[in-house]
């Protein structure tokens, strides 16, 4: 690992030259870029979880495969369910908001 204190200036993150636009509106190109970046970051997270699990097995914290055999109590499962639901609400905030507004309009008429 690096030891010396890093005093180098911040690096530029964008390459010179026109970025190609494949879609009209070009927001689609931006969405694709974010999609690729998220794919990479999710892969990193999965690798990290896998590394963590292997480390815990190696250190004898739990047995290999124990994670797949774990059973949750009813109250634990309720918490997990509720966390999952809140997560889906956050991720789909925009389309769910549209759905709610459409429902409100339908209820009015």
């Amino acid at each position: 690992m690096a030891t010396a204190e890093n005093t180098a200036p911040e690096f530029t993150r964008v390459a010179r030259g026109k970025r190609p636009t494949l879609f009209e509106p070009d927001a689609i190109d931006r969405l694709i870029a974010t999609n690729v970046a998220l794919t990479v970051e999710l892969s990193v997270t999965r690798d990290r979880l896998d590394a963590l699990e292997r480390l815990l097995v190696r250190q004898g914290i739990f047995a290999d495969g124990a994670l797949d055999e774990i059973e949750f109590s009813k109250s634990e499962e309720d918490v997990r369910e509720s966390n999952r639901s809140a997560y889906l609400q956050r991720v789909n905030y925009l389309v769910l908001d549209e759905a709610r507004r459409a429902q409100a309009k339908a209820d009015e008429s």
């Binding site: 690096f11 030259g17 970046a37 892969s43 990193v44």
Partner: protein
């Protein structure tokens, strides 16, 4: 942390390695899968339509490109490919950035066996500054701070992803060219060798191994590439001499070299620079000397869809001279630069590829573009990566 190929290679944390691995997986799995879809779209729908609508010139790569780009699928493919390229660069860049100072420190050499000659007054060729090729932010000539090696470290990190080697020495281009040259002339024994556009020297070091008695030199425009390359060569125990100079004007005396080479340089420079550097190579060669450039095949050696498929590099990979290079004839170029007619040859990595390219050219000459494309695709999904042009200076 995985084993590093040499002491100067940047450190990689778990997440940085995982990020490289994710980008490599996207490059080796997603991108070819998307390309298979594009090709199927061409074979099943777009190609047949073009042949009906424009029987005279359906095979023109611009026409094919325009037709392909009408498809949302194809545009999604190219947009994704561009983003994957950017992710590759950012993955390497952010990792190198956090350790920039320690890398620069580590790269300082107290008692080198080779040498490094930088020229702060060198005039940077305008094409180097206009666009960052391969989307490396800042470009290959970027110099961030005193003793900076970042451009070189980033470059080695990205080719380790790009060439799928995860930390080998990434020297396949020169090993292939050396094998090709030695097979043609087993007695070959150059005393002085020069590589033009040597970058971090990854393709330069094998020349010292192949010709241990030779003095091996490399020039490039990027100071940070060369600082990194110098430290890398020293770490690997290979004495080479690196100098900051453009390939068009390396700055040596007449007849200084017996062998002058370049690797994937030809498609990175504009035509005028390409002709100039070959005129200069002719001057720098001793009588009987050889210049050998390794690069990708040109358009006249490929079928129509394959031409289009490779022309996409221009869009997603910041390759401004890629198509112009591929439209030219490398043999004619060297003759234009002054090599005597008949002294320049074309060559490929192995006999199978040579036969394949000859068959493609024959089909093209006969006007059978469907056949040219069919042959271009053998073996499935592969095009020959190594195409050489060799010029001989008369004795």
């Amino acid at each position: 942390m995985s084993a590093k190929p040499h002491a100067i290679f940047p450190d990689r944390s778990h997440d940085e390695l995982a990020r490289d691995a994710a980008v490599r997986a996207l490059r080796t799995e997603l991108i070819p899968a998307l390309e298979m879809g594009s090709r199927a779209l061409f074979d099943g729908q777009i190609g047949p339509r073009l042949r009906r609508e424009a029987p005279e010139d359906w095979w023109d790569r611009h026409r094919i490109r325009d037709a392909m780009l009408e498809s949302d699928y194809v545009r999604y493919q190219i947009s994704t490919q561009r983003s994957v390229q950017e992710m590759m660069q950012l993955s390497a860049l952010t990792s190198v950035e956090r350790q920039a100072s320690s890398l620069a420190e580590r790269a300082r050499q107290s008692a080198p066996r080779g040498s490094l000659t930088l020229n702060p007054d060198m005039v940077m060729p305008s094409y180097v500054e206009a666009i960052d090729i391969h989307c490396q932010p800042g470009g290959y000539a970027k110099d961030y701070h005193d003793g900076d090696v970042a451009a070189g470290a980033i470059y080695e990190r990205t080719i380790s992803i790009y060439l799928k080697t995860s930390g080998g020495l990434n020297d396949g281009h020169s090993r292939t060219l050396i094998g090709f040259l030695k097979e043609r002339d087993p007695e070959m024994a150059p005393r002085r060798i020069l590589e033009l556009g040597c970058g971090i020297g990854n393709n330069l070091l094998p020349y010292k191994e192949a010709f241990p008695d030779a003095e091996v030199h490399g020039v490039d425009v990027g100071a940070a590439l060369l600082r990194y390359g110098h430290a890398r060569a020293e770490a690997l125990g290979v004495p080479v001499h690196l100098k900051q100079a453009p390939a068009e004007d390396p700055g040596y005396d007449d007849g200084s070299f017996d062998l002058i080479v370049s690797h994937i340089l030809a498609h990175e420079v504009p035509e005028e620079a390409w002709l100039t550097l070959n005129r200069e190579a002719l001057r720098l060669l001793a009588p009987g000397g050889v210049v050998a450039h390794g690069d990708v095949p040109v358009y006249s050696e490929l079928g129509p869809y394959t031409q289009y498929a490779y022309s996409k590099e221009t869009y997603f990979n910041n390759e401004p001279f890629w198509c112009a290079y591929r439209d030219r004839d490398p043999v004619a170029d060297l003759e234009r630069a002054g090599f005597p007619a008949g002294s320049v040859e074309r060559g490929f990595a192995d006999p199978t590829v040579t036969a394949q390219i000859e068959a493609v050219k024959a089909a093209r000459a006969a006007g059978d573009m469907v056949e040219a494309e069919r042959i271009s695709r053998r073996p499935m999904g592969m095009v020959p990566r190594f195409a050489f042009v060799i010029g001989h200076k008369p004795k």
